[in-house]
Amino acid sequence: MMKKIYLLLRISALAFLTLIISQSVAFAQEEATEDTIIETPKERPVRPAFESGLLFDAATTTLQPSKTLEMIIQHRFGIIDFDDNNTDFLGIWGVSNIRIGMNYSILDNLTVGIGATKFNKMEDLQVKYRVIQQTRSNSIPVTVVLYGVAGIDGSADTKWEDSYKFSNRLSYFTQAIVSRRFNDKFSLQFAPGFTHYNAVDSAYNHDRISLSFAGRYKFTPQGSFIFSADFPLDIEGIKDYKKVDATATVYDRPNICVGFEIATSTHAFHIYLANAQGILPQEDIMWNKNDFFKGQFLIGLNITRLWNF
């Protein structure tokens, strides 16, 4: 199974690179014509690859201009159970997870954020820094962003039994996100990530490497089809690697999201199907056991709101 996933990832990465290279050639010619018409000599960055800095539970390479405050509400209903006897209504009456967060752009290329999530009483600190930005002349073909999340599990001390220390509560997620806006409608991003939990049950690993993909296809000026997938990788070479016992629950399912986005001047709305119920990326990459293709998915909703100062 893992071999198949590796193969799929390799093929996807190769296809992504081929797309970027082939687009670079075609794009350069198009832009030369546009530049002569509008007579703008200096290098111009492309419009953002995504409408919002948030895509489901993932970060995108989009950053808001400096002195922008963004409020985020992320909501995930319970897992839809197709069992005939179940009295739940599409997971809406089930146990749901919710996060509220605020992001603030200190600089045009630096955003910091805080948030609180219902599951595990997680509080989080986030930082996002844009290293390079794709240009219209295609002199820089991609945008690269570094993204980090530190999570603090707010559960009662007894969760860690006698060995409790504050540092047990901490978990980290870091990611390098590479995106390309191919044209006005289509954008893709690819993001290798690293997750670390300071304290885990003895059967599990502290660290995990993941690969994430996301994209959008805009079909109206405000409406887009959006998708993302996080693949947790089981790499034996990783430090202190431990094969999870066959009797223990295995948390290694990819986190897949598909949905629609409506973007207005100050808002982005997402309505989607997803299979992981965590909201912070480290939770979804480390602890997801729901299989999207076995019908174990849920309905999710996001709302973002921007204020410029």
Partner: protein, 138 residues
């Protein structure tokens, strides 16, 4: 006696209704004072440029349509809640203004008309919106 109270109550409600409606009526915005720096600006996007119906249209629909309406007639769904009329972009009076006048009113703004400099960052993208509004001329 009972009927007198009823009559008084009806008259009170009627007066409240009429005055509330009067207060709700939109005023036309006063004349704009456009600084010379903006007034002298000329669009870098020429009429007929391909970006007008792509970038201009997309940006207008995202940021402007909800108040100004799809055709610039001032009939967007949010327009009714404003105190000031949003004007009519298809009218000769609007179209007679210079590029710089329209640029200033559109992106710098005043009062209920928000500033869009941080929402539409690129200069040429802004001009594509101005030219898209120019194309709304009747």
């Amino acid at each position: 006696m009972k009927n007198t109270f009823k009559l008084a109550a009806i008259i009170c409600v009627a007066i409240m209704f009429v005055t509330a409606n009067m207060a709700m009526a939109q005023k036309a915005g006063g004349p704009w004072t456009v600084p010379a720096k903006y007034k002298a600006m000329k669009s870098t996007v020429k009429a007929g440029d391909a970006s007008i119906n792509t970038v201009g249209k997309e940006t207008y629909n995202k940021h402007c349509k909800s108040c100004h309406g799809a055709k610039g007639l001032g009939d967007g769904p949010k327009a009714a809640n404003l105190k000031t009329s949003t004007g009519d972009f298809s009218a000769a009076k609007f179209q007679a203004q210079s590029d710089g006048d329209i640029y200033y009113q559109s992106f710098i703004g005043r009062d209920e008309m928000p500033n869009f400099e941080k929402k539409i960052l690129d200069e040429a993208d802004r001009w594509a919106v101005v030219m898209y509004m120019r194309a709304m001329k009747k």
